[in-house]
């Protein structure tokens, strides 16, 4: 049996990914108890690595991990050459344009956009034919319009609570972004037996809603 490495994203998807993995029969404990970033699952020739969200597609593209679970938002931002095989349906959220209510009738006059997703945002505004300045932030994007750093933001929204609490509203949806199972191009073919087995189990969980 081939040894496989699965890359999981820290942050909002971490616990959900671990839950999902246990549903397909790959369980491991002690993840939250230690600061270790690599875990072997006893007796199953499986290893997990815990990486920063935006790095998960990188680990998978280069073959350092065979599989990964990461949000669609991250995939759109990073444009890595990986197989994007399954929509795992959990961690659902939206990538949106948000801003103060002044812009609710249109994005006219928008000059600056703050976001964690500069590539995704650039593409979106380019397609609209809008010339905007994109400011890359790595967190707390919601405060940018409040302190005058930007006019609007592009960010992910789950419940919309953070936006509301900061006086922002959704102006436009860009895309839906749930968790995806990504697979390394070579691993899918070179370790095909195990890969097929895992992908099949994932499909069963998604369709069965277990």
């Amino acid at each position: 049996m081939d040894y496989i490495t699965i890359a999981l994203a820290k942050g909002r998807l971490a616990d959900l990914s671990i839950d999902f993995m246990s549903k397909i029969g790959i369980c491991f404990d002690g993840l939250n108890l230690s600061r270790k970033l690599i875990f072997d699952v006893r007796g199953s020739k499986t290893r997990f690595i815990l990486a920063k969200t935006s790095d998960v597609p990188v680990f998978v593209e280069y073959g350092a991990a065979d599989l990964g679970i990461v949000g669609k938002d991250t995939l759109l931002e990073s444009e890595r050459d990986v197989y994007e095989m399954l929509d795992l349906k959990f961690g659902a959220c939206k990538v949106v344009v948000a801003g103060p209510p002044d812009f609710k009738n249109g994005l006219f006059g928008v000059k600056r956009v703050a976001t964690k997703y500069p590539n995704l945002a650039r593409d979106f505004f380019k397609k609209k034919g809008m010339q905007v300045e994109i400011i890359k932030l790595t967190g707390s994007v919601e405060i940018a319009p409040l302190v005058g750093l930007s006019d609007i933001i592009v960010d992910i929204v789950e419940t919309g609570r953070t936006l509301r609490e900061n006086g922002l509203i959704i102006l436009e949806d860009i895309c839906d972004a749930s968790a995806r199972l990504i697979v390394n191009r070579a691993s899918l073919k070179m370790k095909s037996e195990r890969m097929r087995e895992i992908i099949q189990k994932c499909k069963e969980v998604i369709n069965g809603g277990i």
């Binding site: 998978v60 593209e61 280069y62 073959g63 350092a64 444009e79 990986v82 197989y83 994007e84 095989m85 399954l86 929509d87 590539n119 995806r180 697979v183 390394n184 191009r185 070579a186 899918l188 073919k189 070179m190 370790k191 095909s192």
Partner: protein
């Protein structure tokens, strides 16, 4: 300011690393030659238009230079396209089938992949004036032979055929939709489903397309296709793949073959089989190639052609250094320590040893640095 930086995607190759790369190139050269291929060298610069022809390459990915007269020149982007030009220029003087090979750098500017190499060494072959299935099989066999020769064991060649998907797209009136190809390439089932739904494609057709990303694996996959494929173009493609497999089976090479009917090549000039080389633990392709009959048609030639190129740097990364590379570095040192002999004597001694095949350094200093001996892999010291 002292300039120590290199442009992104370019790097120096020093000593051991370079030696290893040369070793890989030498193995490939030797094999290509022993199969009767002749080496050619193409120019570093071409007119930009050459690389835009038929290739589907975005101009953004090509390095451009402005010529004195204002014409735009391009750094060598793809050698196959250059060879197509060469063959067409020299058509009257060439005899077909023509076997040529090259080992050279191509330059590719890929915006989305920060830090990726932009200077890529390729070693490739082209068999021009060929159209048979046997020649398809032969070119794949050549790739397998070389990978084996290099001591790489866990590799596969995945084969597909562009007409498989073309046939399906035409049958359902969906040709020209690059997004479908792109989603199939990424095996992105969920978005492919969304996309087809948006196009109002009927349910049975949708189900056919949703099967394609899953059509990879052993020869059985071809049988599986026969269950639901009924257009002549796709069927012909399947037949071709099956025939290639049967031939390779006869040559005892089928264990290295895997199929993927969703393979898409970055370059658009392929018209028949397409294939790529994969290796365990490596995320990128070791080689890539296929049949490209229409590229030559672009130059008004009616010849079929098939070829592939190795990514030499990818191979260099995974090849194990072998003993002969290590031995090649060993040197003899003539250490002029005692000053018993005259300079011309010492020089003659060095020349004598060099003629006998040794690598000789004359060291003119009384103090011999240990690090110098180590770094230069000195295995014999003659004190004179």
């Amino acid at each position: 300011m002292i300039l120590l930086e290199l442009p992104e995607g370019f790097r120096d190759l020093l000593f051991d690393e370079f030696l290893k790369k040369k070793y890989v190139e030498d193995v490939i050269r030797r094999c290509f030659k022993s199969w009767g291929y002749n080496e050619i060298k193409t120019p570093l610069l071409e007119f930009l238009e050459l690389f835009l022809k038929k290739s589907g390459v975005s101009e953004n990915n090509i390095f451009k230079i402005l010529d004195k007269n204002g014409k735009i020149l391009a750094l060598r982007y793809d050698i196959t396209m250059q060879i197509a030009r060469i063959v067409s220029c020299n058509y009257e003087n060439l005899v077909f089938p023509l076997r040529v090979f090259y080992v050279d750098e191509v330059f590719r500017y890929d915006e989305s992949q920060v830090g990726k190499p932009r200077e890529i060494t390729q070693a490739g072959v082209e068999l021009i004036g060929s159209s048979t299935v046997e020649e398809d099989a032969e070119i794949i066999a050549l790739a397998i032979t070389i990978l084996k020769e290099m001591g790489i064991s866990e590799f596969k060649i995945e084969i597909g055929h562009v007409d498989f998907l073309n046939g399906l797209l035409e049958q359902h009136g969906l040709n020209g939709l690059n997004e479908i190809r792109n989603l199939i390439y990424r095996k992105n089932f969920s978005e492919l489903e969304n996309y087809l739904s948006k196009l109002n494609v009927d349910e049975p057709t949708k189900n056919v397309f949703l099967k394609i990303p899953d059509l990879y694996g052993d020869i059985e996959i071809i049988d599986k296709c026969h269950e639901f494929i009924n257009n002549p173009k796709s069927l012909k493609a399947l037949e071709r793949l099956e025939n290639i497999y049967r031939i390779l089976e006869g040559w005892r090479m089928h264990s290295f073959i895997t199929f993927d009917l969703g393979i898409i090549q970055n370059l658009n000039y392929y018209t028949g089989i397409v294939f790529k080389g994969l290796c365990k633990h490596i995320g990128y392709y070791l080689l890539s190639g296929g049949r490209y009959n229409s590229l030559l048609e672009e130059f008004r030639l009616k010849e079929g052609a098939v070829g592939f190129a190795f990514d030499v740097d990818a191979l260099t990364n995974i090849v194990e250094i072998n003993e002969s590379i290590e031995r090649e570095k060993e040197k003899t040192l003539i250490w002029v320590n005692k000053r018993e002999r005259r300079e011309d004597d010492i020089f003659d001694l060095a020349e004598e040893l060099r003629r006998a095949g040794e690598k000789v350094i004359i060291y003119w200093d009384k103090i011999l640095d240990k690090r110098f001996v180590e770094k230069n892999k000195i295995v014999k010291i003659l004190e004179v």
